[in-house]
Amino acid sequence: MRRFEARWGVLMALPAILGFVIFTVGPMIASFFFSLTDWQVGGQPSFVGLDNYTALADDALFWKSLSATTYYTLGAVPLTLLVSFAVAMLLNQKVRGLALWRTIFYLPTLVPAIANVVLWIWIFNPDFGLLNSLLRQAGLPTSQWVYSEEMAVPSLIIMSTWGFGNTMVIFLAGLQGVPRHLYEAVSIDGGGPWRRFWHVTLPMMTPTIFYNLVVGVVGTFQVFTQAYVMTEGGPNQATLFYVYYIFRKAFTESEMGYASALAWVLFMIIMVVTFLMFRNARRWVYYEMAGAR
């Protein structure tokens, strides 16, 4: 470790550190204190210790929302990673009208949520919706989709996969960093496209895959919009996602104390999961400098 590196290191990280200390830590601490009180917005809070946290254990909706969210995360993250990686590979080829293709594949990410919802309401319509029409033509059984308790979360997973554009763009950027000479090396050795993918692309992309995995997990655990605009948590609480539940407690019922406790439990869960992912990453993520540092 060289002296100037340490000096410059701290200096260059300073904006980020200051931003964290000034804009993030304070509100976080405040919300942690809220979680130890019975504060209802507008009223006077009193200190209740860990009561909010112990009350969670008996709150059926806490468990319900936790399981719905976990289900969603387990479905949406791998599916989105797979689809976006595949599309990124596709859009990294030299084809005519590349700019147009890339833009088209990114479009679902850009269409505003409310316009998207109206579309998906039609897609999921049990009678004349797109999905059931296709299934009927293929002679397959149809579904109630987002209107049935069993299929509601899977339906939202399908819907969210459409927004793969952001993940795809990151993969696309990552693919530009894979050194050409490695591909050439494989080709010289007689390796085909499959081998190139398996032995060069995939290992070189692990830092990007890792990033998308972590961000995907952290993000989907906090999924909110779809439950809010599409299902309002229904039917029968099937899509009562955790953060949607927090919003309801915090702003419909103004129970900021309890909502904060809910939030801090989720914080702990996400932190543990992220920590485990980072630990596990040492086994499969390849960095240029891994050995050196």
């Binding site: 000034i22 830590v25 304070g26 009223g43 919706g129 309002e232 039917p235 029968n236 702003f251 419909t252």
Partner: protein
């Protein structure tokens, strides 16, 4: 521990010494000299134009008073909670149903009772318009009146040879008459009715009726009409497991799954109550009759639907849900309470707000339902059909029961945690209404905290 201390802890960590110089909020601020008020509201661009016009008129009539609108198109509760927590509330504004009583009890809203007598337009309202939070404690009025009605597509009824639903409460259809007519109005792609052989319930072209099972305002009138209620007189015990209540919900469920005259969840491609609106459903004849609020009138006229208005079917005495709207209130901490109350009395006065004549709002003042000249003032125009007088004005006046959300304590938590999920189960048709309601009732009872206070003005 005080709220401010809590913030200070967070604030100190965040700001260091800067937090010590705490500002504190209060009122809409305002420079010396001219009085400045802040009016917080939501609404479409259509409503926004009407509200802005109202505020301009107020400023003209009250020289020296400046009103700044705080237009909040969405996430109203998030913003209002934040403003309350930071002591930055407006002077006058809309307050969502789920929040108004709570804020009043906490002292965030001004008790309007002492001011009411000064303003005839406030003193003479429909009894159910007043929102009381204790003896002689009044925190506001429902912003405008709204009532649930039976809308129908005239063309669809004419094609099926069905007589229009009655437009006066006395001759309202019975439930059986509703079902009977709904059969005639339900047609599949091949023109067959549900009681004919070969009827295809998967390919229904036109449904007879649509009436929400999950939206409280849509069924509360039926509940009361059948002699049932949501809770007992003390408001502490839920009564949804009584035979009368079960019958109402079983009848609704039967419309979907037994009679097949009403769309089930998702069949209209609708989530919530507004995608698509009743105007579209009737205009495209996807549905022949729809139970929906008076506010649909504006949409009906704008999309030129050939519609009619009837009263809801009855069990015993005819009832419908009224006061289906959130509160308007004056916020405590306003530096100009007198002016704020003045603005409050002004902001939903039909003389200054176009929304009444345009068919989105109904007045709260009694005289607009009783005195002929006053009734004419808002209903005698192209936006209000001829049957409006009996089907809406008289019906509201004589047969309205106020929306539960403005009457029963803790109702928003009851709805989101227990009631709505239970009703969604009934709507899904998986279990009969009796099973679902018997299971949900004790859970609701455990959450009930009594009715809100009511009194004569």
């Amino acid at each position: 521990m005080k709220r401010r201390d809590l913030f200070r802890i967070g604030g100190l960590a965040a700001l260091g010494a800067a937090a010590a110089a705490c500002g504190g909020g209060g009122g809409g601020g305002g420079s010396k000299g001219s009085t400045q008020l802040q009016f917080m509201y939501w609404g479409s661009t259509f409503e926004k134009a009407a509200v802005e016009k109202m505020l301009r008129q107020y400023e003209q009539k009250n020289a020296g008073v400046d009103v700044k609108p705080l237009f909040t198109p969405d996430e109203y509760d998030v913003k209002l909670n934040t403003l309350v927590a930071s002591g930055r509330v407006p002077d006058v504004g809309y307050v969502p149903m789920s929040m108004s009583y709570r804020l009043a009890e906490q002292g965030t809203l001004v008790n309007l009772f002492p001011y009411v007598k000064k303003y005839p337009q406030l003193a003479g309202c429909l009894p159910d318009a007043y929102l009381w939070y204790g003896q002689d404690k009044l925190h506001g009025l429902a912003t405008a009146n709204e009532v649930m009605l039976l809308w129908y597509a005239k063309d669809a009824l004419a094609e099926a040879g069905v007589a229009a639903p009655p437009a006066d409460a006395a001759s309202a259809w019975t439930w059986d008459q509703l079902v009977e007519n709904a059969y005639k109005l339900t047609v599949d792609q091949n023109g067959k009715h549900p009681d004919e052989s070969g009827f295809d319930p998967k390919q229904i072209r036109q449904f007879g009726i649509s009436s929400s099972i999950t939206y409280g305002a849509a069924w509360y009138g039926f509940l009361r009409s059948n002699g049932a209620d949501f809770a007992d007189e003390a408001g502490k015990r839920c009564l949804l497991d009584t035979p009368e209540a079960i019958k109402v919900f079983q009848n609704l469920q039967d419309l979907i799954y037994k009679h097949r005259v009403m769309p089930g969840p998702g069949q209209l491609a609708a989530t919530g109550d507004d995608v698509p609106g009743t105007n579209v459903l009737l205009k495209t004849k996807r549905v022949a009759m729809v139970v929906d609020g008076h506010w649909s009138l504006l949409d009906m006229n704008q999309s030129k639907v050939n519609y009619g208005i009837g009263v809801l079917p009855k069990y015993g005495e005819p009832f419908t849900t009224t006061q289906v709207a959130g509160a308007s209130a004056v916020f405590a901490g306003s530096k100009h309470v007198e002016e704020a109350v003045e603005l409050f009395a002004f902001h939903n006065d039909p003389r200054y707000v176009d929304l009444f004549q345009q068919g989105l709002w109904m007045p709260q003042e009694k005289r607009y339902y009783e005195d002929q000249a006053s009734v004419d003032a808002w209903t005698r125009n192209a936006a209000h059909p001829p049957e409006f007088r009996t089907a809406v004005v008289d019906y509201t006046r004589g047969h309205g029961v106020p929306d539960l959300r403005n009457r029963l304590k803790n109702m928003s938590a009851v709805s989101s945690d227990v009631l709505t999920p239970a009703l969604q189960e009934i709507e899904s048709g998986k279990r009969p209404a009796a099973d679902v309601l018997k299971e949900a009732t004790p859970k609701i009872t455990a959450m009930l905290q009594g009715w809100h206070h009511t009194q004569e003005i």
